[in-house]
Structures are given as C-alpha cells and as structure tokens.
Amino acid sequence: MSLHLEIVTPEKKVFSSDVANVYLPGADGELGVLELHAALVTAIKPGELRYEKDGKVENLAVGTGFAEVTPNRVNVLTDMALGEEQIDESKVEEAMKRAEEQLKGLAHDHDAEEVAHLQAMIAKSVAQLNLKRRHRG
C-alpha cells in the first residue's frame, strides 16, 4: 500500500506519482498526510505544498483549490501549481504590485468578489515568492 499523489490544474496534470508523505496548505492550517489517512475533503489556500518522494523533499507553490484525501490517494485540484524553477521572481513581483494597486483603486466601491479575487492573486504571489526566496538559501 502506498500513497498516490495527484495534482491537477485546469490546464494540465502537474504531478501523478506515489509519494511517502504530503504536506498541504489547508484552509485551517498545514496538513500532513501519510498513507491510511482518514478520508477528508479540505479547501486549500495559496501556499506551499511539500511532498517526499524517494527520500527527496520537493516543494510546489499552489493556489486555491481542493484536496481530496482517501487512505491511499491524495487528489489536489488547484488553479496553480509551480515548482521552484518555474517561478520568475520579478514577474511575480510585478503581478503582485499590479494587483495591489488595483485593490487600492477598488477600495471605494465594494465589489466583494473582485476584492476577494485580487486578494487571492496576491496570496498566490506571496506563496510563490516565499518558496523561491527561502530555497535560495
């Protein structure tokens, strides 16, 4: 018995393989999953997803979405999943700045969903930057 991790975005299947363990950025805090974990559905928020495969720990920056955990599988549905090498720091910073400015402009009218969307974008940017910077050492 082993734990199968699958990460998909609307654009493509990012990862599909057996792993030793997974750490998910759950809505209520980080969530560690080993095999035979109780069945669980959780919302995930932008942050860092960590898994160990063949003794090597890998990190991915993920966006909002869901994770479905069953005793032998973890299915992650997210709108973003990027490895460290796929993140372009300056581009992310720029995108974040843009989103922040838009957010300021929105302060007057109360379009809650637009605000939520921009905040999600910023959170995703932060997640990417955290991953990139920390592992540069």
Partner: protein, 299 residues
C-alpha cells in the same frame, strides 16, 4: 464563348483564392491542434472535480446550497450562447442558431462571439450581456462569465441557466448542444463527466468508489464551507470547458471548410486550364489553316 484572356484572368483569381483558403486551412489546423489539446487537458481536472463532488454529494444535504435549488416557478430562462468571432467555419454557427431557435425560442441571451450576437440582436432577442474571449482561452476569462450567470441566478432573475455551444465530437463532427448549468443537477453529477463531449462516459474508479461508500468524509473547515467554494468553482470550470470545446469545434470546422474550399478551387483551376488549352489549340489550328489557305491561294 469566353476568350483566352478572360480565362487566364479567371484562373489567376481562382489561384489567389485557393492560396488564401489554403493558408487559412493551415492556420486553423495548427490552432485546432492546440484547442483540442487544451480541451483534453481539462479532462483530468474535470474527472477529479467530479469525483470529489460525487463523494461530497453522499455526505451533504443536497438541497443545502442555493446553487442546487430547483425552482418550479416557470420563470425565465437565460442562455449563454458560445459562437465564433469570425466566419468561414462552415455550418457551425448556423446549426447552433437553429438549435437555439428550436429549443429555446424565448430565452434571454448572454453571448460570447460576434456571429450569433449580431444574428440574435437583429432578431430582437433580449441580450443581457456580451463577452469577448481570447484565443487560446485563458482560464481566467471564464470567471467573469460564470460570475455574472451565477449572480443573475441567485438574484432569482432567472430560474434556469443553460449553455448553448458547439460540442466537439471529432474533427469532422461538431454537435450543437444545450446543457443546463444552473441549478446544478446534483442527481446527474455521478452519471456523466462534468463536461459534455470529448467522448466517453465517466468511469468512476470502482475501488475508490466502494471505499468511498464505506467511509465518511471529514470536511475541513466544514461540509458547508467546502460546498460553498466547490460549487462556484464547478460552475466556473464548466463554463471554461465549454468555451474550450467551442474553440476546438470552431477551428476544426474552419479547417474542414477551408480544405473543401481549397480542393474546389484546385478542381476549378484544372477545369479552366483544360478549357484554356483547348481554346489555345483551336486558335493555333485556325491560324495554321489561315496561313495554309493563303499560301495555296498564292500558288
């Protein structure tokens, strides 16, 4: 009878047309490949999303969410019509328009794509909104559309929201299809993929499914919260998938139409060339005849 110069001119113009249609065919073919790949790539996500929803359904009260609420009030229906911006794609838009006129004769419309927007605008349909979608379709473009549809549904302006689009069956076959988007038909979730078309029935992973029956899911933060975020995501994704399907259909239809046009043009060129050569030969024969007669007369 047409003279030589006329025929030469016509051959030239047909050649030009053939060149253009051939170029369009090649462009459409390249775009078609991309659009089809994109539609296929959405499958994995759709399958997983579907599976999570099926499992959720067994654990949560189905009527617990406004997006699932069925209304029998006989209120108005809203349709998202996904057509193309450009023409020259065979009978694609015509077929879709026919289907809408037959199945949804008085629904209000939200349109994507210029072709049917203009057509239904002229026909005096009530147009609620209109969106432009880039090519290839970015996931983010589906969000404002899904948001508007959801909002109108929740405000009870409409009792039912459907999507009319060209379902991509194969390169040669695109089916005009109308699918109910809202309220989300909870009883149908398990029966089919969360998108139409691209072939097969949903194959629910048996081992996983039986396992799912024997266990109760935990929800984090709570079942209601998960449902609250998952259902809008589902609507959003469905809109995206249908946009992508329509794009795949558009490019396929255009490629086929343009291939037909190129083939016809080439056939026409052949015929015209044959006629041209016949005429040329006749002219030469006539000239020779004149010369020989003149020589005979001089002797």
């Amino acid at each position: 009878m047409a003279n030589l110069r006329d025929i030469r001119r016509r051959i030239k113009s047909v050649k030009n047309t053939a060149q253009i249609t051939r170029a369009m065919q090649l462009v459409a073919a390249a775009k078609m490949k991309k659009a089809q790949d994109q539609a296929l790539a959405g499958r994995d996500y759709a399958d997983l999303l579907n599976q999570v929803l099926v499992n959720l359904k067994e654990n949560v009260d189905e009527e617990a969410h406004p997006l699932l609420e069925k209304r029998d009030g006989g209120g108005k229906e809203l349709v998202l019509v996904i057509s193309t911006d450009k023409g020259l794609c065979g009978p694609l838009n015509t077929n879709l328009a026919k289907k809408i006129r037959a199945d949804l004769p008085d629904a209000d419309l939200v349109t994507v794509g210029r072709k049917l927007r203009i057509q239904f605008g002229k026909a005096g349909r009530n147009m609620v909104a209109d969106f432009e979608v880039k090519d290839p379709v970015p996931f983010g473009e589906a969000r404002p559309i899904a948001k508007l549809l959801t909002q109108l549904f929740l405000e009870k302006k409409y009792d039912k929201v459907s999507v009319a689009f060209s379902n991509f069956v194969s390169t040669l076959n695109q089916e005009p299809t109308v699918v109910q988007l809202l309220p989300i038909a909870a009883d149908k979730l398990g029966e089919k993929r969360s998108y139409e078309g691209m072939g097969n029935e949903v194959k629910v992973d048996e081992t996983n499914h039986t396992a799912a029956l024997s266990k109760d899911y935990l929800f984090e933060p709570s079942g209601q919260d998960v449902l609250d975020t998952l259902l809008p995501l589902y609507v959003n994704f469905q809109v995206y998938q249908m946009l992508v399907e329509s794009r795949a259909s558009e490019h396929s239809a255009r490629m086929v139409a343009m291939k037909g046009a190129t083939d016809n043009a080439n056939k026409f060129i052949k015929e015209l060339t044959l006629e041209y050569n016949k005429l040329r030969q006749a002219a030469i024969t006539a000239e020779l005849l004149e010369i020989t007669t003149a020589m005979k007369a001089m002797e």
